[in-house]
Symmetry: C2
Subunit: 333 residues, 2 copies
């Protein structure tokens, strides 16, 4: 195994979040399931956009958020994702590169626009997502640069990549290249609805060793094994994954291998403002620690620090310099 | 004087704010004057954009912020400003209309892009603005719809409109139409650098009665009369303007006519987070009260409520429903 140029390469859907506040009635009138992510076409995205009030627009997407966390922690991050050659795409790329993240995926020309997710925030703080995948549909194997994959200690893929058809091939190709170079390949299950859509394929990815490291929250893990019992799901994932990291909200996280079980408590949070991105940022900390060879409990602590910062403000990307927060707890990245 | 369809018509530069954090060294290296607004061309705007990190993009512009405040207070607001037919321009219009503001200015096609101001935030919270006027340069008299001006109790203009040459004519035309319909015409001086650029013209606007109501903060008023003494400036403006409203930060505000002087204390603020937009939002409250015929001290109180909300969060537009806050203090708009 040669030296790494990147700690973590994140591959995912490059999505601009468009956040707007709505009343509960709005979800009812639109027939939407609160807290879910649904995929919509361009027409439906535009129609919904026309019905919401003033919006906040910020670069998002699970893997993109994770990359920004790795960078903020002082890790070396790369990102692969497909934007279009339009204003949203330019802004997405600007902010990635501005955060020190290597991002060289060619923008799509003369095709669909940059992906956007209209995120409806109800007064209870819940978020209901309506995602138009746009240019993300065109992410293909040719967008995965072998040299970048080989140069990354960990390649991290989001489960949502299973939605756009061409991305699956990109995903498999990245895994092959990474494993051939002796690297680690991780996946996040993204959300429990995503698990429902792709359960057999996700299980196959684990059981064939296409991915060796799994990130999931409690709901996603239970959905994967179709059980209401966490212990049952934990026992199953211990068999299927080389390493599984399961986040438990305020109860912290578990990191398990076939032989080891680590439970790490959650990092204290002053005030829960917005949970969006907490899982993505937890992954950023854990992955950064893992890439640097830290013991699993320390990886989980680093994840907890990043998640806690994210929970304390609106928006899925860090506002404070995570490296400074990590240093206060004795971590030097 | 016939019935009004709008309480306040705001005319100004339609600008997207692009906010990014920088270190003090950055301003030094760029040779920028901290706290100032400078006008830049497209090339310089792009160059600077390439040097900043991840950014926050939000619709801004003084008069646009004021219109959003009027709407949030439950007033009927209209806005005239020039965006381009591009993604930023679409987003600007979407958010204006989404906030219930009448906004019908045709977007510029095949010309300069939508205006943007790159706002550099230093660790001390100061903001240094670099504004590319883009499509705003093309706002002209034909964009001012007479029927809208006639239907508004108050037409409110921002001093920054003096920067793009064609806007001056739009400005004068709006004033003529408004006064012919027996309406009030107000102006804000925008900032003290703007006053330095256009002092003789601003004084002439007041002295010829082209505008009858003036909004200024202490620095702008002193700059207008080239004096370091506030009392001297207040005595002068009392002669020049039918009504002058001078904001004094934590010391509240003064509203003066030739015969009256009202000093109203500032609304309490829990925590000063970001002063951007405080003056614009103060104006929104004052103007809404004025349009509804409230006594001047009540107008100032309503302004204070709107400004206090704005100061409590990042960004120049209200996050809470200002009408609810005003109601807590006994105001029914």
């Amino acid at each position: 195994m040669t030296d790494t140029r990147f700690d973590v390469l994140c591959i995912g859907n490059a999505i601009f979040d468009v956040l707007a506040s709505v009343e509960e009635d709005f979800l009812v009138a639109e027939g939407l399931t609160k807290g879910s992510m649904r995929l919509v076409d361009a027409e439906e995205s535009l129609r919904l956009y026309g019905r919401i009030g003033a919006a906040v627009r910020i670069p998002g997407g699970c893997a993109g958020n994770t990359a920004s966390g790795v960078g903020s922690l002082g890790g070396r991050a790369a990102f692969v994702g497909k934007v279009a050659a339009d204003e949203l795409g330019d802004a997405y790329g600007h902010d990635m590169r501005g955060a020190g993240i290597h991002f060289a995926t060619p923008a799509l020309k003369n095709g669909a626009p940059t992906a956007r997710s209209i995120i409806l925030i109800t007064p209870d703080g819940e978020r209901t997502m309506n995602t138009y995948l746009g240019a993300c549909q065109e992410l293909g194997p040719s967008d995965v640069d072998s040299a970048t994959v080989e140069a990354a200690a960990i390649t991290y893929l989001e489960g949502y990549l299973w939605d756009p058809p061409a991305a699956k091939e990109a995903f498999r190709r990245a895994s092959d290249v990474a494993h051939a170079a002796g690297r680690r390949v991780a996946i996040t299950l993204s959300d429990s609805f995503c698990v429902d859509r792709w359960r057999p394929e996700f299980l196959s990815l684990l059981r064939t060793g296409t991915v060796d490291t799994l990130f999931a929250n409690e709901h996603e893990l239970k959905a994967l094994y179709e059980t209401a019992d966490l212990d049952t799901a934990m026992a199953a994932v211990r068999e299927d994954a080389g390493l599984a990291i399961v986040t438990l909200g305020a109860a912290g996280s578990m990191a398990v291998t076939r032989d080891e079980t680590h439970h790490v408590r959650a990092h204290p949070v002053d005030k829960v403002v917005d949970l969006t991105g907490a899982g993505d940022l937890f992954a950023s900390g854990f992955l950064t620690g893992l890439a640097r060879g830290l013991p699993l409990p320390d990886c989980a602590r680093l994840g907890g620090i990043a998640a806690a910062e994210c929970i304390g403000h609106v928006g899925p990307r860090p506002q404070a310099k995570l490296a400074d927060l990590a240093r206060q707890d004795g971590f030097e990245i």
